[in-house]
């Protein structure tokens, strides 16, 4: 069994771009589950259902749960176990960097992202996390860059507390952009042209996926090469 673990951002950007049917097609041909933790479910479903502006989108997401395209992590890992691991990750991540000026620890990640990482640690299966925003990815994939980014943005030196930044398990992350690349390659989109992929990738970028123009061009180049 394989688990594709979704943070809130990718579901939001796919929904806002009308790409949920593509996600459904990806699930049909996938030997595993698309997993959503309770903290993420709150962001993609429970909260927007109460906001008129996003109620329609939330109802579309609800359909994916009804159809079993998205499944709750509680079916795989007990909530109490997940919460305990999430708390451990939150504590570690949010105490790993401090400002030298104020000596205050900088809170970097939040419940949703921590719960995805926690599930990844606990599920004992092949897994991949889909996360669109850059913070968590940078923290795990290039912790030094996170330190430099915060130092630059805050205009104050930010230092690591002990070696906490290096205590994280190296997890694998993709974004909704790479997911849509796979869908495009498999012919799951309404058009198979490179132009259509270009439109999809930029649409994702403008609806919250942290991806650079350079990276988009690199993805498009791969279509030609393969």
């Amino acid at each position: 069994m394989k688990y594709l673990i979704f943070d809130a951002g990718p579901i939001i950007s796919l929904t806002m771009n009308g790409l949920l049917p593509v996600l459904e097609k990806l699930k049909e041909g996938f030997d595993g589950e698309f997993v959503v933790t309770p903290a993420v479910r709150k962001e993609i479903l429970d909260k927007p259902l109460k906001i008129q502006k996003f109620k329609l989108e939330a109802m579309q997401v609800q359909k994916l749960f009804d159809k079993g395209v998205l499944v709750s992590s509680t079916k795989i890992v007990p909530t109490s176990k997940l919460q305990k691991e999430s708390s451990r990750i939150l504590k570690l991540a949010n105490n790993s960097l401090k400002s030298t000026k104020t000596h205050q620890r900088i809170k970097i990640i939040h419940d949703g992202e921590a719960s995805c990482m926690a599930f990844s640690n606990l599920c004992s299966c092949d897994n991949l996390i889909v996360i669109d925003e850059r913070g968590t990815r940078i923290l795990i994939e290039s912790p030094e860059s996170m330190k430099n980014l915060l130092s630059k943005k805050l205009g104050t030196e930010v230092v690591e507390v002990g070696d906490s930044l290096h205590k994280f398990k190296k997890q694998r992350f993709i974004r909704s952009a790479e997911l849509m690349y796979v869908a495009h390659k498999k012919g799951y989109m309404q058009e198979t042209t490179k132009e259509f992929l270009d439109a999809v990738l930029y649409a994702l970028k403008f609806k919250g996926t942290a991806i650079s123009i350079k990276e988009i061009e690199e993805i498009k180049d791969m279509v030609v090469k393969k």
Binding site: K47, S99, I106, K107, E141, I174, E215
Partner: protein, 198 residues
């Protein structure tokens, strides 16, 4: 702020004292209707809001920014309900300064809440416009905090805005273009995705 006056910094101990200074400077700007000065003060509060991530710094950043937008639109001052709003604002502002100078952060937060609440009591269309400004200011400041390095979820939560609202703003951010944001070669990430769906 007058020329030559040092910039207000909240990134130190004595945080309430510094926020009080922001409020004192903002009070002068409010009375003068000087929206540019309010905007400057709002920018100064943002870094401390990123570091501290506490309600008082965040409410201050949002409130001062909202006021800069409100005072920028001079025609609001001609609208029904303006005097009512302005009088309550100044009264509450002075109370907030007093609370801050007495090191009573909780009271200051409650007073800032009262300023926001006072929008519900204004008559006419002005209330709708002002509420819209406050809402947009929350999203705007949340976005700025995201640009300062926090995750989208953290910023949305701190400002009480929806991730759905924030997503369009994030799309406009140039931060993804920064070299540091590219923490893994794209080819490697694509390989993760392709291998997983084999």
């Amino acid at each position: 702020m007058k020329k030559g006056e040092p910039e207000v910094s909240i990134e130190k101990g004595g945080d309430l004292f510094n926020i009080a200074r922001v409020f004192e400077n903002a009070e002068i700007a409010i009375k003068e209707g000087d929206w540019m000065k309010l905007k400057d003060l709002s920018n100064q509060t943002l870094h401390s809001a990123t570091v501290h991530q506490d309600p008082l710094n965040i409410m201050t950043a949002v409130l001062v920014y909202s006021l800069s937008k409100i005072f920028q639109r001079k025609h609001y001052r001609e609208m029904e309900g303006w005097q009512e709003f302005n009088d309550k604002l100044i009264k509450n502002w002075e109370e907030a300064i007093l609370a801050l100078t007495m090191d009573d952060g909780e009271k200051a937060i409650a007073i800032l809440g009262k300023i926001r609440q006072s929008l519900n009591e204004i008559s006419g269309n002005l209330a709708l416009y002002l509420k819209d400004i406050f809402r947009k200011a929350e999203i705007n400041k949340a976005f700025k905090l995201y640009e300062n390095g926090l995750t989208a979820e953290s910023t949305a939560d701190l400002f009480g805005v929806s991730l759905w609202d924030l997503s369009s703003y994030i799309g406009q951010s140039s931060i993804s273009e920064a070299h540091v944001a590219q923490s893994l070669p794209e080819a490697e990430r694509i390989k993760y995705a392709e291998d997983f769906f084999k």
